[in-house]
């Protein structure tokens, strides 16, 4: 990624502003959305804000999947290439969510302690288990995108759902290198 002033960085900053704006509670929806949408009134701004709650849920689920991938890699190092894309995608999701809605990350979704994540002894089964979690995460991300008040945030959440759905497909089609667990 390029350094400052790159379009990517400034658009990313815009997203951070969009979700961050919701997080600090100012009444501003970045994209015009059907005025009847959501059914939540801005008069309730003093309550925990819906998009902050959503971001907290999604970042926790994204981090859990990342932890599962890391635990799987620790047990089956030969899966490094098979899982590289999925790991990179979910790491990017977690980074963006934490940048965009820092309040949602407190308490921070600390990585799950190694050993608490169960990983199958068989590498192929371990990959299929991750694919199932990708499907589940895609559903969480889709529901969150549907519920988000910020249009900019909804767009990114829907994109994350699509990324998880892609990884589920890719992992199910992956050729798993032969061999047992470490």
């Amino acid at each position: 990624m390029n350094v400052p002033h790159s379009p990517a960085l400034s658009r990313r900053a815009a997203l951070v502003a969009a979700v961050g704006t919701v997080a600090v509670g100012t009444a501003c929806t970045p994209d015009p959305v059907d005025p009847e949408a959501g059914g939540r009134s801005r008069e309730r701004a003093a309550e925990p804000l819906p998009d902050v709650t959503l971001a907290a849920t999604v970042v926790t689920d994204e981090q859990e999947l990342l932890d599962l991938i890391d635990a799987t890699l620790a047990r089956h190092p030969r899966l490094e290439r098979v899982l590289a894309d999925a790991r990179a995608a979910h790491a990017a999701h977690v980074t963006l969510l934490e940048d965009a809605a820092p309040e949602s990350a407190s308490p921070s979704p600390a990585p799950t302690a190694p050993g608490r994540v169960r990983v199958p002894d068989d590498a192929a089964r371990a990959v299929r288990a991750i694919a199932r979690r990708e499907d589940e995460l895609a559903l969480v991300d889709k529901r969150s995108a549907f519920a988000a008040e910020s249009g900019a945030f909804a767009r990114v959440l829907a994109s994350m759902a699509s990324s998880a759905a892609q990884q589920a497909v890719v992992l199910r089609a992956a050729t798993v290198p032969a061999g047992g667990a470490r």
Partner: protein, 141 residues
């Protein structure tokens, strides 16, 4: 972008996708490339269905749906099966961007439609050789 503008942009994208898939389908031999031909046919049918759904969504809000152009530029010459495959992947990528924008500009049922369409385009792109991405449909990330 207003919800109506987002749907009109989506419809314009569907018109283009239907046209391009129609051309690609005519250039791939069902006997020589049965899998590719079937995938193109499925995508053609799907985008026709989506086009009709978006037209209905626009009519539901008393908007006049945009019409299609006479023709559209193909993403590449589409003379070989490989080029046809790449062109299809490119169309799905463009559609994913349009659907993602629609997610951000609509709500409720129309947003749900756009979320499902985005996920489908991202996964369908893989069928045509696209690489998975961390943020499908959101190029600036």
């Amino acid at each position: 972008m207003t919800p109506e503008e987002a749907l009109q942009t989506t419809l314009a994208g569907e018109h283009a996708a239907v046209y391009v898939y129609g051309v690609l389908g005519g250039r791939v031999s069902a006997s020589a490339q049965p899998d590719l031909a079937a995938a193109l046919r499925t995508a053609y049918d799907l985008h026709r269905g989506r086009r009709d759904q978006v037209i209905a969504m626009l009519r539901a809000v008393d908007a006049t749906p945009v019409g299609s152009e006479v023709s559209y530029e193909l993403p590449n010459p589409a003379r070989t099966p490989q080029q046809c495959r790449r062109a299809a992947a490119e169309i799905e990528e463009r559609c994913a961007e349009v659907y993602a924008a629609a997610v951000g500009s609509t709500a409720r049922a129309n947003r749900q439609w756009a979320i499902d369409a985005l996920t489908d385009a991202a996964v369908r792109g893989l069928t045509f050789g696209a690489e998975p991405a961390p943020f499908p449909g959101v190029p600036e990330l």
